[in-house]
Amino acid sequence: MFPHDGQSVARGLALKQVTAIARTTLVEAIQQPIAFLILLSAVVTTLLVPVFQFHRFGEDGRLARDSGLSCMLVFGLVLAAGAAGRTVSGEIARGTASAALGKPVRRVTFLLAKALGVLAVSAFFWLGVLSATLLAERGSAHFITHKDYSGYVTDVITLALSAAGVAAALLVAAARHYFGRRRFGVSAFVGVALSQMLVALVTGFYNRLGQLYPLHGEAACAGCGADHAHAAGWVFYHPELNLRVIPAALLVLCALAVFTALATALATRLSTGSTLAVCAGVLLLGLAGDSLLTGAPFWSGRGLAAGLLPDLQNFWLCDAVARGGRIAWRYVGEAALYALTCCAFFLGAGCLAFRERDLG
């Protein structure tokens, strides 16, 4: 059934295999209740920050943003490392890896496909939490100067819509499970992420005071933080989301990719629990490495550790977005390249470890 000879056919086959394994990994990972709970926790925590802010110093938006990005990193790491550990070491233990590798699938293809599947889970999680972060920042109290009102305004409508989106996603997932026998975990995971993206789009139809567009001139602007060029004419759609968060969030996604690769590599030899423990250690050292390991000679223990550990400070730049700051896209590109190098290193080591692994 190996259809033809030739490299192009072999590449086509490998691509089909990668797609099939990655898709199965994605479904397997998100249908686990823990994946949905992690996403739900991250989204709800992010959305609750603007509600439970008691100390305002004009930085409510920043607090919401930082909390959202922190949730994205911490919950995302748990999700990525847990999913990679479960899907690789779990499949080896359950024997489904043997069943797949009993087919014409190379071990390298299998492992890379697994990593891609987990990365897809992380990306979906990232989209959901990024949307929730943008909504939380918009919803948090902002000082606005409007023709009708000046002062701190909490965008209750946006926060309520976000919460309603989560509730609606759960109801839809339950209905799909009851009537259509669809997997609740998958529907809920996808639904929660999509609901936040949808609400983020919907926010473009009203301003922070809850006035529906189209509005004209000063009536439209309610402290959106933009350059107010639109104040001269009609505004039909204006999401008022702080899109400067996106580069900072992309850097977090890079960190998640690095941890996905690390966890996938570790899981070829370690159990899920051990994989999570090592990832937690790398996270702590990676964040502290900047201060602990910098300046040590390369051929010392500290120097080697600094060389081998991913420097996670490169991926945590939320302070750069504060007070109207921007992260240069060039920096994001360089960080992505660094993340790609780390991923290649970890996955290469993982492939070597998996090549000689006995699959019982």
């Binding site: 059934m1 295999q17 099939a20 394994i21 479904v27 043997s98 069943a99 009993g102 014409p104 019982g360």
Partner: protein, 306 residues
Amino acid sequence: MPESKRQPVIETRGLRKVFRDFWRRPTVEAVKGLDLTVNDGEVFGLLGPNGSGKSTTIKMLLGLLRPSAGVVRVLDAAPDDTRAKARIGYLPEVSHLHPFLTPRETLMYYASLFGMPRKEAVRRTHELLVMVDLEHAADRAVGGFSKGMARRVGLAQALVNAPGLLILDEPTSGLDPIGSREVKDLVCALAQGGVTVLMTSHLLADVEDVCDRVAILERGVLRAEGKIAELLRQPDAVRFEVEGLDEPDAAAVRAELEARTGRRVRQEYPAMSLERYFLQVVARDGQQRAFAMAPFLGAAPADTNS
């Protein structure tokens, strides 16, 4: 095909497998210098008690375990050669299935691992679901299946690529007598179509029913190998079977034989096997089903170049 012209499909020479612990210390030697040859078109049975090294041997043939020493050739290639694996169907000892996938999704998944075009995969999946009598449960997650149903899905996935070499590890494990009979019929049908089959089983009657040759392993060592008829033949005993012989005639024949040979003659009334009786009873009640094997009867071995 004459015995001498048959090409070896599986060959092992001096095959050894030593399992090691985390510190690379040897824990157990599961296979000790195994020499084995399975020829094209044969149904070969690998027998042995628990822990004799049957499954370990199979996993080395598939490249899932690395041999500690020795040579393995499968379809004239190394065990981890993907071109050779494309012609192999493998049913593991336990049907390792993704519990959240349905049988249809499972078969589509495995078909895609062979690079099968979607249209062909859909057709093949349907045929296999009909064959293993799981069409009614095709869209239920296999996690809720009984062991026998999961076994049927496992069997279907082993046949998804129309293999030229079929490796079955305990294929009848977990199946009811009817399912077990159907699997054996399927193996015979595939063998008639030219498929080489290597199977292991604890159920010796199963092996006896379908295998041409067997090898018996014990603690990783090959104890016996050969054609079943030759291994089981008792050269110093002769059996006659006569239908409808009444008691006085039977006694007379027996007396005559004893008088001529000077040896004791044993008189028996042969009984059918319990399996055959069970199948007759179930068939009488109209419940017997059969694998819809039509698409697989006479199936040619998978062609690497077509």
